[in-house]
């Protein structure tokens, strides 16, 4: 009972703080400061239609590199935590119940298209809503569907590791190329900007988003497989 009332008091305090913050908040009338600059010059400077992509990949590209690093650390942490210790015996290999025919047929029919949709999302990240993180998550959802349909499905870890390391390394390499050939680290203008609004435009943004998409997709697939392997 004491615990409940302390919790209630804490929540009242938090509600009071939130109310006083939101109470005197008024909507923005126009873009301010840095956002104005991004919107006014983003499209003509970087050639990206989607300004959120321009900010994520180029203006704040270093943050995104850090974000990818955090995701990589979390995926490695999951792998280390759920790794089988040497002495630990393999769990009893009772075969898991197979999925129904509807699920298996649906999974094999849909998963190629889901992967294709994920690739579409990250290739068009500079033109439409979407990008590497979203596309990677969609690709990982195709892997999850395969796991649901085939409980004993194994991923090729060597291939996953190669794709992941390659894309991470090339991402940093592309950033360094921007530093040496254009204005700064992760500057996208060392490749030609191309015609505004076409798929091969905006310099290295589609390249970077493809690499991020591959990296996020393989990392999330790795997390899924680790968790599946240890489910009790």
């Amino acid at each position: 009972m004491v615990r409940k009332s302390i919790a209630l008091a804490l929540m009242t305090g938090l509600a009071f703080i939130l109310a006083s913050i939101l109470g005197d908040w008024s909507p923005m009338e126009r873009l301010s400061g840095v956002a104005y600059d991004y919107v006014a010059h983003g499209a003509s400077d970087l050639g990206a239609m989607n300004l959120v992509t321009a900010i994520v990949v180029t203006y704040r590209g270093l943050d995104t590199l850090g974000e990818v690093t955090v995701l990589f650390l979390a995926a490695s942490g999951v792998a280390v935590l759920l790794r089988r210790a040497d002495g630990e015996q393999q769990e009893k290999t009772q075969s898991k119940r197979a999925a129904s025919e509807i699920v298996t047929t649906g999974a094999s029919l849909l998963s190629p298209f889901i992967v294709m949709f994920g690739a579409y999302i990250f290739l068009n990240g500079h033109l439409s809503p979407g990008g590497g993180f979203q596309g990677g998550a969609v690709i990982a959802s195709a892997v999850l569907l395969l796991f649901l349909a085939h409980p004993d499905y194994k991923l090729r870890h060597d291939v996953l590791n190669i794709i992941e390391s390659f894309s991470g390394f090339t991402y940093v390499l592309v950033g360094l190329l921007g530093l040496f050939l254009a204005g700064g680290f992760l500057d996208n203008r060392f490749l030609p900007l191309g015609a505004y609004g076409t798929i091969l435009s905006a310099g290295s943004i589609p390249l970077i988003y493809t690499l991020i998409g591959l990296k996020v997709g393989t990392e999330l697939a790795g997390i899924l497989e680790n968790m599946k392997g240890r489910a009790l």
Binding site: M11, L22, E29, V39, A43, M49, L51, I55, D63, I223
Partner: protein, 117 residues
């Protein structure tokens, strides 16, 4: 957009309420995820400008007068980062829970007092 903001604040309250009252660790992770969603809604609402459209400069938005037509893209980019970090943190917390459950076969947070002083 004030509606979205109030909704976000309500979700944050629900999430934190769950975080401090629940004993089941999986429910605590879920509560944290709910609170996170509320925070993301608030951040998106902060960047909204009345009558503005998405910050994608296609044929519907004139490139020269874009600064008067679009909403603030910076909070949206921040929320994109926040979502990805949230996924990573949740995955890591769930991995810890799987490990803890294998040690003691309990999901109740009160059964783990080893580090308590």
């Amino acid at each position: 957009m004030t509606l979205v903001m109030v909704l976000g604040a309500a979700l944050m309250l629900v999430g934190f309420w769950g975080l401090i009252t629940r004993q089941n660790m999986i429910k605590m992770v879920l509560s944290l995820a709910i609170a996170e969603t509320g925070l993301q809604l608030i951040m998106i609402a902060v960047g909204y400008i009345n009558g503005g459209t998405a910050p994608i400069l296609d044929s519907a938005v004139d490139k020269l007068s874009a600064v008067q037509q679009v909403v603030d893209p910076v909070p949206q980019a921040l929320v994109l980062t926040a979502i990805v970090i949230g996924v990573a943190v949740n995955a890591l917390m769930l991995a810890f829970i799987i490990r803890l459950y294998q040690k003691k076969h309990s999901l109740n947070i009160s059964d783990y007092k080893d580090m308590k002083w």
